[in-house]
């Protein structure tokens, strides 16, 4: 019985939140919705952790949906890389839901709570689906499930600020264009190969050589995913979306949505295309690498001058995505390792920071930076979490940010790209500047006279500190994450033809 259940784990990962969502929508009134959603996310996390433990030795689980063998049927394929991402997504969902209860009660109208949690579960379903699927068209469908529910989640911030609606609308237009580009590219690939299963696509593209159709397919898919992961200069939807979304949603999406898009990019680049032709490597070297470096500097500068804490964090996310793209563009084992490990490291640090912003929002009613003067006096625990997670963003030793940057700088140096390494280190100073600016405001400025704000409730402090603690723990003992990242990088490089040339 148990053995039979274990075999169904890959599909349970998706089906559980998918089935729970309509249940929450129908019977989720009076706080039941939150309970069902939270329980579901905990089970999903347990499933993801089990899958992760199973593939840690480098094996691959292939699950055939409905018993139809690939490439005819849809395949769910779990290897070390996407098991790692599954753990991140389901873990972040569970902790964000714990946090959401108090935060959402304040930021979203009571009558919408059931629908909010149902949408949250759908978004989680989509993100987990993108991660687990081994079928390229299935990936598109899940991508749209997660994006559509993401737009709805962002618009839930409209009670506090109506600009959430226009932010969600703009994200919808950009996101749909991105998804459609992905489908166009996939169509061109299908035209060439007649298959949609990723492993099968890879097998048929190997040795195919070069053609205009292949190049166009690559370009469309690349730009489509780049829109979803907010690669500079396709990032314009992100700042408003993360600023005006409810705080729990900002925290959840910043830690998962762009990360899953980075995963999709890795999967498509390395597993499907596999750098069979020089064109693909050139795109990364000549276009993505410079754009990523520009992104880090431009976005960090904008973050320094931001007037709102959440907007600052949103711009900082764009910069951090730049680091991940540099890791990919270096096309080496160390570079990929830096990207994969930064997926996790940035997820925990940024989730903690957005949670702090949400706690300020709850108690001070605003995240406008001048209004947060001296708030550390009233909310010492929340403020301390901000400083620690902020240091991790900067990349101070003993935090996870340092681990990512260490690998990234090493990866650049082994290829003698010392300007890249230097720029990565320099950009940390910009990060330090905007983190310091907030730290100074909340600790050293006088609080406005007569204003007292109580400490955030425990149900919000605990999730914030779980993420902060993780960002410290894995900064000191990075054994598990770096092992997973190293094996994932090996698997990616093993699947590609990068070193054949």
């Amino acid at each position: 019985m148990l053995q039979a259940l274990l075999h169904q784990l890959p599909v349970l990962q998706i089906v559980l939140p998918l089935v729970a969502a309509p249940i929450v929508a129908a019977f989720g009134g009076n706080g039941r919705g939150w309970m069902i959603a939270f329980a579901t996310s905990l089970i999903a996390f347990a499933v993801a952790a089990t899958l992760f433990a199973e593939v840690l030795d480098g094996s691959v689980i292939s699950y055939h949906l409905g018993g139809w063998a690939p490439p005819i049927g849809i395949e769910y394929r779990v290897d070390i890389l996407n098991a790692f991402v599954l753990v991140i997504v389901s873990g972040v969902s569970a902790i964000c839901l714990l946090y959401a209860r108090a935060s959402i009660a304040a930021e979203v109208e009571e009558k919408n709570h059931a629908f909010f949690y149902a949408t949250f579960l759908l978004c989680m379903t989509g993100l987990l689906g993108v991660t687990i699927t081994g079928d390229a068209f299935n990936l598109f469908v899940f991508l749209e499930i997660s994006s559509l529910s993401g737009y709805a989640l962002i618009s839930a911030g409209a009670k506090r600020d109506r600009r959430a609606l226009t932010a969600a609308y703009n994200y919808l237009v950009m996101g749909t264009i991105g998804a459609t580009f992905f489908v166009i590219g996939l169509g061109l690939l299908y035209m060439l190969t007649g298959t949609l299963n990723m492993a099968d696509l890879a097998a048929r593209l190997t040795g195919y050589g070069d053609s205009r159709t292949l190049r166009m397919g690559f370009a469309f898919i690349f730009v489509g995913i780049a829109l979803k992961l907010a690669m500079f200069p396709l990032h314009l939807w992100l700042p408003n979306a993360y600023t005006f979304a409810p705080s729990a949603v900002s925290s959840f999406l910043s830690a998962t949505a762009t990360k899953v898009a980075v995963y999709a990019l890795l999967r498509i680049l390395f597993t499907v295309f596999g750098f069979d032709s020089a064109f693909e490597a050139n795109v990364l070297r000549l276009i993505v690498l410079p754009l990523a470096i520009v992104a880090i500097f431009v976005a960090s500068f904008v973050a320094i001058f931001a007037e709102d804490l959440k907007r600052m964090l949103a711009w900082s996310s764009i910069a951090q995505i730049g680091y991940m793209l540099i890791g990919i563009a270096l096309l080496s084992h160390e570079g990929l390792m830096a990207t994969v490990i930064h997926l996790f490291n940035h997820a925990v640090a940024k989730a903690a920071l957005f949670m702090v912003a949400g706690a300020f929002m709850l108690r001070a009613g605003t995240t406008s930076i001048p209004d947060l003067r001296g708030i550390a006096r009233d909310m010492p625990w929340t403020s301390a979490a901000f400083v620690l997670a902020g240091l991790s963003l900067v990349g101070v030793p003993l935090t996870v940010g340092f681990i990512s940057k260490w690998y990234l700088v090493q990866a650049a140096l082994t290829q003698n790209l010392w300007p890249v390494a230097l720029l990565v280190v320099l950009s940390s100073l910009l990060t330090l500047t905007y983190v310091w600016r907030i730290t100074e405001t909340i600790y050293m400025r006088e609080a406005p006279a007569g204003v007292r704000r109580s400490e955030a409730p425990l149900s919000m402090l605990i999730p914030t500190w779980i993420f902060t603690g993780l960002s410290l723990y894995f900064g000191i003992d990075a054994g598990l994450t770096s092992m997973a990242a190293s094996r994932a990088a090996n698997a990616l490089l093993g699947a590609s033809n990068l070193f054949w040339q």
Binding site: L148, S155, R162, R163, T166, V173, T176, I177, Y190
Partner: protein, 127 residues
Amino acid sequence: MDAAFALIAGHANYWLVVILMMIGLYVAIARGNLVKKIVGLNLFQTSVFMLYISMGKVEGGTAPILTGLPATVYSNPLPHVLILTAIVVGISTTALALALVVRIREAYGTIEEDEILEIERDVGSKS
């Protein structure tokens, strides 16, 4: 001349798809009216549906329903199935976008992008 004609006539479906796609993308980007933007987005998506469906056509092929005759050539049914899914995604996107436009109209009293931006700028300078 003949070569140019062959290039256009031989790929007529692709030319139509490309033209429709560009019209849709242009409308989605350039129009200020939020509903018209959605119309553009729909055109853009529809052109992709056509791209897929035209690629499933096999010359001399019949509808993919088993006839039992070994000599029958069938068109490829898979793109149609994929597009059925993509159409559902497109409808959901349109529905969600229209719902957002209704909410925007309630909140701002307009669905013109430039007027909304002006309102947002005024709010931004005050707060």
